[in-house]
């Protein structure tokens, strides 16, 4: 295998460096913005909080934003890696398979029609919506003798995305929502969130991330195919169910706190495989770290691309994601002919 990091010490070192970069990105995300803040002040606001305006901004606006970007990016990347493994489709990811759009629609519709409000309700709705759409797309993509083919499942995902996005828009327009809210539920954004938002979904997402690491060994075997895995004594149904629960918690949770953000779930797993190969025990932790870094970096970039205006981070990831997507589709297109 010609991946970049081959030996275990190299991979461990890479992961440590990755975690360090992630921390730097979190601090940078807090520091840079319309009003730049000194690094020193950031540290002080947590160690010696003095109630000043700057400290308040850090603790109520900048820090939650950074934390949300980090965990949403990690969650989407890990969910993408698991989905690509389970469906054996290199383009699988929460956004392309409609899961993000479905989760967003459930939240939008429930708040419009049933007066659902509050952050924990949003998180729950996100989970339900993600689970429902994932099941729907999986069933649709598996219709037919040849089972789950990359083409069918991708088309099913694309059409469900169009379906749920259109319905969400209809609901938002009839409900007289503001343009900012509409945009938020369409492209995803991490701006203007508070700590309570982060707290509403982070515990589930954290648990799901840990759960994914436990699954890693079993995912390695499942990658050899259902028959081989069963032949070696694996209860493949349990592994798939476990992975499905983890994916739903990760994707649903990230939508409920950051909206439907595209392409992180495609880009990062591929970058990770290039770095450390295909052993899930390495790829999943790498995905978590690199996913967090990507979304944080995209979010910082989104503040400067049209300074002083901000662009939602979902727009940034979509634009960054296309070259990757094209590359992967060209590779994958060849492999499946």
């Amino acid at each position: 295998m010609n991946n970049l990091l081959r030996t275990s010490p190299q991979k461990t070192a890479g992961l440590v460096i990755g975690i360090f970069v992630l921390l730097v990105c979190i601090v940078s995300s807090i520091v840079f913005g319309v009003a730049d803040i000194k690094w020193r002040t950031v540290v002080d606001s947590f160690t010696a909080f003095n109630g000043s305006q700057e400290h308040l901004i850090i603790r109520t606006a900048r820090a939650p934003r950074a934390f949300i970007a980090a965990i949403a990016g990690a969650a989407l990347a890990v969910a993408g890696a698991l989905m690509q493994g389970i469906t054996r489709n290199p383009l699988a990811s929460p956004s392309l398979f409609g899961i993000n759009a479905g989760a967003a629609f459930f939240i939008v519709a429930a708040s419009a029609f049933f007066g659902a409000s509050g952050l924990s309700a949003f998180a729950t709705l996100g989970f339900i919506g993600a689970a429902f759409t994932a099941l729907l797309v999986y069933v649709l993509g598996s219709i037919g003798k040849d089972g789950l083919t990359p083409l069918k499942v991708t088309l099913a995902g694309a059409s469900m995305t169009a379906f749920f996005s259109s319905l969400s828009l209809g609901v938002l327009l009839t409900g007289g929502q503001t343009f900012d809210q509409v945009l938020y539920w369409f492209v995803g954004s991490v701006a203007g969130r508070d700590m309570a938002t982060f707290n509403s979904a982070a515990p589930y997402m954290g648990a799901a991330l840990l759960g994914s690491f436990v699954l890693a060994r079993h995912m390695n075997l499942l990658a050899l195919g259902e028959d081989v895995a069963t032949g070696l004594g694996q209860k493949t149904v349990f592994v798939k169910m476990g992975a499905a629960v983890v994916i739903v918690l990760l994707a649903g949770g990230s939508v409920s706190i950051a909206g439907p953000i595209a392409f992180v779930g495609i880009i990062i797993p591929h970058v990770t495989r290039y770095l450390v190969g295909i052993d899930y025990r390495w790829t999943l932790p790498y995905c978590a770290v690199l996913g967090g870094i990507l979304l944080l970096a995209a979010d910082i970039g989104s503040r400067y691309i049209a300074f002083p205006k901000e662009v939602p981070v979902g727009v940034m990831t979509a634009i960054l994601g296309v070259p990757f997507f094209v590359y992967i589709a060209r590779q994958g297109g060849r492999a499946h002919e």
Binding site: M1, L224, V228, G231, L232, G233, I278, A335
Partner: protein, 273 residues
């Protein structure tokens, strides 16, 4: 114990299985003799692959039981079965970039747990499997960079690492050229000779089946048409009934096993003096 009344490695009693509404086989009884090579032959779609897969619990029969060394397979846990019986499905596909060593290591899955992930025994069995298949030199290579024959040897190495007394293989020689087919079958033959492992497989080539099998099971329309040693059961009538083809059966000039030569058309060449 190589006696006349052999113990069966796998025994199927009154097996019934259907695909949707279409019955594949019903009330089928079968014994796979221990320590021998058994080969299933039959025309396309006769149910031989389905049969092999249900013997390996990849398919669940609607009725009947499969006994693995005397115990009912449905009552054993997945890992218990995997420690006694290995199955190599047809045309397995390794993910891009997987190395031979990584693949063979997966054969130890049934012996591992969350805390016990890489014991001394695991390592020894993996090395032994790599040596037995002649793959130790190629262990660091990725599967997709190998030739078809090497790839199949890598997969067989994985089933060997499983350290089971019985190995089932579904058409292990499909898509291989003749030299590689012989290479794979010789490997399985040696494994049976040296380590007394029970081998049962589906093969398409009748002549190769006759050459390597101690025991042949001819399957026709979801039922066992005949079973026994090739030299005892393979004749013109069997080929006609099972494959719907006219032929002449002679002896292999090298090994003396039955050799099936189809009638049908072709150029005629008269031997010159």
């Amino acid at each position: 114990m190589k006696g006349a009344s052999r113990v069966s490695a796998i025994q199927a009693d009154k097996l019934t299985l259907s695909y949707g509404k279409k019955p594949i086989f019903s009330d089928l009884d079968l014994r796979i003799p221990e320590g021998r090579i058994t080969v299933f032959i039959g025309s396309n779609g006769c149910g031989k692959s389905t049969l092999l897969r249900s013997l390996a619990r990849l398919l669940k029969p609607e009725q009947g039981t499969v006994l693995l060394g005397g115990s009912e397979i449905a009552k054993l846990s997945g890992k218990e079965i995997a420690r006694r019986l290995a199955i190599l499905p047809q045309g397995p596909l390794a993910p891009e970039g997987l190395t031979v060593h990584q693949l063979v290591k997966q054969g130890r899955y049934p012996y591992q747990s969350f805390l016990q992930q890489w014991s001394r025994e695991d390592e020894a069995m993996v090395n032994k499997a790599l040596q037995a298949t002649g793959m130790d030199e190629l262990a660091g290579r990725s599967i997709d960079s190998l030739s078809g024959g090497q790839r199949q040897r890598a997969w067989i190495a994985m089933t060997l690492a499983q350290n089971t007394s019985t190995i089932l293989l579904d058409e292990p020689t499909t898509f291989l050229d003749m030299a590689h087919q012989i290479e794979i079958l010789d490997l399985l033959f040696d494994l049976n000779e040296r380590e007394n492992r029970t081998v049962a497989m589906v093969l398409h080539d009748i002549n190769l089946a006759c050459r390597y099998a101690h025991h042949i099971v001819a399957v026709k329309a979801g039922a066992v048409y005949a079973e026994g040693a090739p030299e005892e059961i393979v004749d013109e009538k069997l080929i006609r009934e099972v494959f719907g083809m006219e032929c002449q059966v002679t002896r292999d000039p090298i090994l003396g096993t039955p050799l099936v030569i189809p009638y049908g058309k072709g150029r005629k060449v008269t031997a010159r003096e």
